[in-house]
Symmetry: C2
Subunit: 318 residues, 2 copies
Amino acid sequence: MGKYIFGVDIGGTTVKLGLFTAEGELLSDWEIKTRTENKGENILPDVAEAIALKMKEENISKDEVLGVGLTAPGPVLKDGTIKGAVNLGWGTFNLSKTLSDLTGLKVESGNDANVAALGELWKGGGMGYSDIMMVTFGTGLGGGLILNGRIHTGANGAAAEIGHIPFCEPEDEPDTCGCGKRGCLEQYTCANGAVHVAKRYLDEHPDEACGLRNISNFTSKDIFDFVKAGDKTACKIAEKIYRNIGRGMAMISAVTDVEAFVFGGGMSKTGQMLIDGVRKYYVNYAFPACRNTDFKLATLGNKAGIYGAAKLIIDSED
Amino acid sequence: MGKYIFGVDIGGTTVKLGLFTAEGELLSDWEIKTRTENKGENILPDVAEAIALKMKEENISKDEVLGVGLTAPGPVLKDGTIKGAVNLGWGTFNLSKTLSDLTGLKVESGNDANVAALGELWKGGGMGYSDIMMVTFGTGLGGGLILNGRIHTGANGAAAEIGHIPFCEPEDEPDTCGCGKRGCLEQYTCANGAVHVAKRYLDEHPDEACGLRNISNFTSKDIFDFVKAGDKTACKIAEKIYRNIGRGMAMISAVTDVEAFVFGGGMSKTGQMLIDGVRKYYVNYAFPACRNTDFKLATLGNKAGIYGAAKLIIDSED
């Protein structure tokens, strides 16, 4: 009785699902396609069907399922209401209640970045801490704030929207961020931001040779590959990016004083190099009492979401 | 039995004390001098004596005291350890345990800015909310972060040190902040910061007439008095200050997404004018989902500390 938990992570392309024991052991994980057509009306029915199918395959009864943890890419309030998810075509509705009605199971929901942070705290790079800021360096800059072991959601489900910290005065930044503002932290730090910083540097220093000049539409990976290869200009660019991230993290610690930052997402694959680069600037920008904040790498990759989703159910049983 | 609580707020000049009912009604409040000589060794014994005296006067037995809530100007960890208090001459020691040994009563401790925030949440400008950032515009810029109705202390007791958010690049700011860094938010926003902004503006615009030019060593109050009197240059300076505060608050809400900011301290006596001025810029800098964050004025004045201290005891009984 009460032996299983489902963790479900809805992304714009695929839905990741995991079957866990009540103790948090991942027994199996699989994916289904995210059908975003017709305002995403099929997504939750597809999830319900995938769960029902797995229960049938594994001969699991409803009584044996503690619940379904669910995460989606949009702001999710404490009561399970999602306030729209642009990538899925969704408007505002109660995510937990809707999937619960479809499955007959208890459902707990959260925002994808927050839930991934919870997963990393539980079983990944944040193990052993109770207060972390997870920072996901993807196309944009995502954040997930865990305090006292629980997700801090915020009044509008918008806590840890650290990519949108007004980092530079708008006057300094001609391009508009996806959120409609200018000067957002993610414009200077994430994969796209890094490319932006690099292009700007190369434009402003036309006399400096750099391997990046030979690659049309270079990516943040290219920048760090050239850094590893010892390209001097790429190294200068990387220092600018590290400085931006270090200053951004110092802004966050002056507000939250977390125990650790956990870095995930594509750009974090540069590993210890990123951490060492960032920390060097962080210690100078941070409030003195916060200079020793730990920096860790995420370890769960794209499974952080299903782990965190499963943990939502475990926490709800407390 | 268990009918009384003491709230004690240790400042650099005076210690404020309050006797409360268990329900949080303030029965009486008084002050004693803070004796900072000899590394502040007399301060806690003086507090213990003041409490014992009041208990004798009011004929209160130890069994009738739920506990003593205590606040001091320094970082206080969750276990009651204060990591130094420069203004009192104190090093690091366990504040709660020390006063508990002196009084034989239960003691709960917290940092003064945090505890004042808790007081405002409980009985002041933050009533009705569970997540607030209290912002104290004093000589410096203080902060107190309350989440889920409780103080968020941080790993080093340095959460809500919002005055030290690295607001501007050091390059923009020749003067050093009290913390040793440059470009801290408080250098652009608090009473001293406002004067600094004004002086800089006046230096950079020597041709603009302004009443402030006739006052040597003008204060932030003078700036806002001239604003109220319609001095055009003072108004421009105030807009710069409002913009700085608005942008700083937007940084905080992108991390915490609090329900409300509660403004206290000397500069907040300008009241609704300050809130209206700040909000105008806040809505442009804030992440769109957080644009409707409430702005409130603190109402407890210098009694916020003793109220919050009393609440520490009430919360510890849960």
